[in-house]
Amino acid sequence: MTRRTLTAGERGDRRFAILAASPAVLTIGALFLYPLLYAVMLSLYQMNDKLPGATQFVGLWNYAQIATDANFRQALVRTLVFSIFTVLGGVALAVGIARLLQHPFRGRNLARVLLLVPWAVPPVVNGIMWKLIFDGTYGVANSALAGLGLIGRPIQWLADPELIMGVLILSEVWKLTPFLALMTIASMQAIPSNIYRAAAIDGAGSWAQFWKVTLPNLRGTLMFLLIVQSMWSIKVFDTIYVLTGGSGGPAEATTTVNFLAYLTTFSYLDRGYGAAMSITIMGIVIATTIFWILLLGRRKEKST
C-alpha cells in the first residue's frame, strides 16, 4: 500500500484537528490517565505511610496478596450480593416502570417528571434521607410499621448486619432506577408501532407482545443499562459512607470491595495495597462489562 501525499489544505486541517482536540486530550490525560498510571505504579510498591522506612518495590506481590486476602474475598461476596439485587432488580424494575408509563393514562407526563426526582437528589442527601427513614429510634419506617401493628418494638435496621444490606440495596435502587427507567422509556418509544400492530393482527396479547416485541428490541439498551448499573454497583461508595458513618459497618456488613479499598488507602494509609485493590476493582468492572457484551452482544448477532 502506497502512502498518499497530503495536500497543504489537508495538512492544515489535520493540524487544526490536533490543535482543537489537544485541550480535551490534555484534560483527560491530567484527570484520568495520570492518576491511573500513578495508581498502577503505587500498586507495585509496598507503601504504607505509617511505615515510611519500609517503602519498597514489590512487583505484583500486592496482587498476589489480594488473591489470598480473606477480607477482600468477603467484600467481593458482599459486592456480588449487592450487585445482583441492584443490577438485575434495578433494571427489571426500570423495565416494569417504563412499561407502565408507556400506557396512556391521565397524569402520565407528571408521573414521568416525578420519576426523575430521585435521580436529581444528590447521593449524599439520598444516604442521609434513608438513614433518617430507617433510624432505629426516630425512623419513619419503624413508626409506620408500629402504626400498622406489624412490630411491637423498634427494629434496629442500621445496627443489624443482615438488615442494613437491604437498606443499602433499597436506597441504591431508589436512586438509580429513574435513570434506568428513563433510558428504557426512550428506547421503547423508538420501537415502531407497526410491529405491535402486526403482532396484534397475528393474535399476540400484551404479554406476548412484551416478550416477543418489546424485550428483543430493547436488547441494546438493556445491555447498556446492565453495563452502567454493574459499574455503579461495583463502585458504590457514597451511600455506604453516609449510611454507616464512614465505617462500612456494622461488622463490615456493607464493606464492599470499593469501600475496602477506601478503608485500606485512607484509614489504614496502606496506599500500595489500596492501589492494588483499586486496580483489581477496575479489572472486575472491565470483566463484568465484557461479560454483558458477550452475553447480550452475541445473541444480538445471532438474532440478526
Binding site: K50, G59, L158, A159, D160, S247, G249
Partner: protein, 450 residues
C-alpha cells in the same frame, strides 16, 4: 487477513499473555521483612529536628488551622484575641466534622500540602500521623510546664511530643435524677459497683425508655466501649511490650457484661448499636430518652443547656461503676499539632501555646464544659464553680484512665468492631469473638512494632 494468519495471531497473543503472566508472577517481590518499619525516620516526609521556640517577631505571619467542630470558642472570640496578642494572622480557621477529618488530613499530608499549618489531633492521630512523619516534633522548651499528663499523652507517641493539648476529657457517668427518684432509687448517689448499676438500669427501664444507652455504632465507638469495659474489669489492653490483651479474662468479662446488659437484663437501648458519635448520645440523654450514659464532660453543658429536658438540678455526675475495680475510664483529650509541611511553624507553635494557655483554657472550661489541660486552671476555684463535674474528673484520674492511641488504631477499631458486634448480636460468645480479634491484631502490631 487470512484465517490462518488470524489464528496464528491469537495464539501469539495468548502466548504473549502467558509470558507476561509468568513474568508478572516472577515479578512478585516479597517485601523485605527485615526492613525497619516504624519510627518515621527514613520516609520522605519527616518531622526533622524538634521545634524550638524562637524569639523572632512573627507580626503579620499568616497561619491556617483545620479543627474539628468540638470548640466554638475559638471562632467566637479567641482567634481575635490571639491575633491581638501575637500579631499573627489566622488566615483560615476551618471546622469540620470529626468523622471526616482523618481522611482530609491523610490526603493533605500525603500530598505534602503546605497550606495547612495547624491540625487538630488526639491520641490515635498523634500516634498515626506522628509515626508517618507528618507531625512536627516539639522540643521540651516548647512545652508548658504545668500540663496535665493524660492531656499531654493525647498529643504524644513513643515518647515524642507532637503537639499541645487544648482540652482534657475523661468519660464519667451521668444519670437522670428524676428517673432514679421515680424508680425508687436515691437520686443523689451514683451506683458504686457494676451490680448496683445494672439494678439501677433495670429499674429505670420503663415505657420503652432504657436505663442505659451508649454509642457503639461505628468502629471507634465499639473500641471505646470495649476498652472502657476492659478497664472496668481490671484489665489492660497491652502488656509493656505492646502485646495485645483483647481476649484476656478482663476483656472477656467486660464484653460479657455489655452483652448481658443488652440481652439478659434488657436495660441497654438497642439503638446503642447504631449511634455513631458522642454528640448523638448526648442528645439522647439531654432529651430524657435514657436514664444514664457514660460520656464526655460536655454532656454536662448539653444537659444543662436551654432546650434540654434535663437540668443542673436533675443531672447527676459521678464515677463510672467498676466491674472488678472501683472505677476506670477512657481518655478523650484533644490538642493541636503542626504539620511537618507547614512553612510557618513558629507562628503555628504560638497558636498551640495560646490554645493551652490560661486565656483559652478559661473559656473552654466555662463556656464549653471541657476539662482544662493546665494544672493551674484545674486548681483554680473558679473552674470548679463554673464546671462542677471537674470534681468527678479529679476523682476519675485517681483510677485507670487510658486510650491507647497507636499507629494501628484504625485497623484495631475496624477488626474489633466486627467481633464486638458479633458478640453483641449473639452470633458468637464474647470469648470466641475476642480470641478471633486477638489473632487478627497480633500480626498488625508485629508489622508496626517489629
Amino acid at each position: 487477513m487470512s484465517r490462518t494468519t488470524l489464528s496464528t495471531t491469537r495464539r501469539s497473543l495468548l502466548g504473549a499473555g502467558a509470558a507476561a503472566g509468568a513474568l508478572g508472577l516472577a515479578a512478585c517481590v516479597p517485601p523485605d521483612s527485615t526492613t525497619p518499619g516504624g519510627g518515621g525516620s527514613d520516609g520522605e516526609a519527616q518531622g526533622g529536628s524538634a521545634l524550638v521556640p524562637e524569639d523572632a517577631s512573627l507580626e503579620g505571619t499568616e497561619i491556617s488551622i483545620l479543627d474539628d467542630n468540638t470548640n466554638l470558642v475559638f471562632k467566637e472570640g479567641l482567634i481575635e484575641t490571639f491575633q491581638q496578642e501575637t500579631g499573627i494572622i489566622v488566615k483560615n480557621y476551618e471546622m469540620a466534622n470529626f468523622n471526616d477529618l482523618h481522611d482530609r488530613f491523610a490526603t493533605a499530608f500525603a500530598a505534602q500540602d503546605a497550606s495547612i499549618d495547624v491540625v487538630m489531633t488526639w491520641a490515635g492521630w498523634s500516634a498515626e500521623f506522628g509515626q508517618a512523619g507528618w507531625l512536627q516534633e516539639l522540643s521540651p522548651e516548647a512545652i508548658p510546664d504545668d500540663l496535665i499528663r493524660p492531656a499531654l499523652d493525647a498529643v504524644s507517641w513513643d515518647s515524642t511530643v507532637y503537639g499541645l493539648p487544648k482540652f482534657a476529657s475523661v468519660q464519667t457517668m451521668f444519670w437522670n435524677k428524676e428517673h432514679y427518684a421515680a424508680a425508687g432509687l436515691d437520686p443523689d448517689t451514683a451506683p458504686e459497683t457494676w451490680d448496683e448499676f445494672v439494678e439501677a438500669a433495670k429499674a429505670t427501664t420503663i415505657d420503652g425508655r432504657y436505663g442505659y444507652c451508649c454509642d457503639m455504632g461505628n468502629p471507634a465507638g465499639a473500641y471505646q466501649n470495649f476498652l472502657r469495659s476492659l478497664l472496668l474489669a481490671g484489665g489492660e489492653l497491652y502488656t509493656a511490650d505492646w502485646t495485645p490483651q483483647l481476649d484476656s479474662e478482663a476483656g472477656i468479662e467486660g464484653l460479657t457484661k455489655m452483652v448481658e446488659l443488652l440481652h439478659l437484663h434488657k436495660a441497654m437501648d438497642p439503638a446503642s448499636l447504631q449511634i455513631t458519635n458522642a454528640s448523638d448520645l448526648i442528645e439522647v440523654f439531654s432529651q430524657g430518652r435514657t436514664s444514664s450514659v457514660f460520656n464526655w464532660p460536655f454532656q454536662w453543658a448539653s444537659a444543662t443547656a436551654e432546650g434540654a429536658v434535663t437540668s443542673a438540678e436533675t443531672t447527676g455526675n459521678g464515677l463510672i461503676p467498676g466491674i472488678a475495680v472501683r472505677s476506670a475510664s477512657i481518655d478523650g483529650s484533644e490538642g493541636y499539632a503542626i504539620s511537618t509541611f507547614s512553612t510557618n511553624k513558629q507562628a503555628a507553635l504560638k497558636w498551640l501555646q495560646f490554645a493551652s494557655g490560661a486565656t483559652a483554657q478559661k473559656q473552654i472550661v466555662e463556656k464549653e464544659g471541657w476539662f482544662p489541660v493546665s494544672q493551674a486552671t484545674l486548681e483554680d476555684p473558679a473552674t470548679l464553680e463554673a464546671l462542677p463535674v471537674v470534681a468527678t474528673y479529679e476523682q476519675a484520674t485517681e483510677h485507670p484512665v487510658q486510650r491507647y492511641g497507636t499507629p494501628w488504631s484504625n485497623e484495631l477499631d475496624q477488626l474489633l468492631s466486627v467481633q464486638v458486634f458479633r458478640a453483641m448480636n449473639q452470633e458468637a460468645e464474647p470469648a470466641e469473638a475476642l480470641k478471633t480479634a486477638q489473632q487478627e491484631l497480633l500480626p498488625i502490631v508485629e508489622k508496626y512494632m517489629g
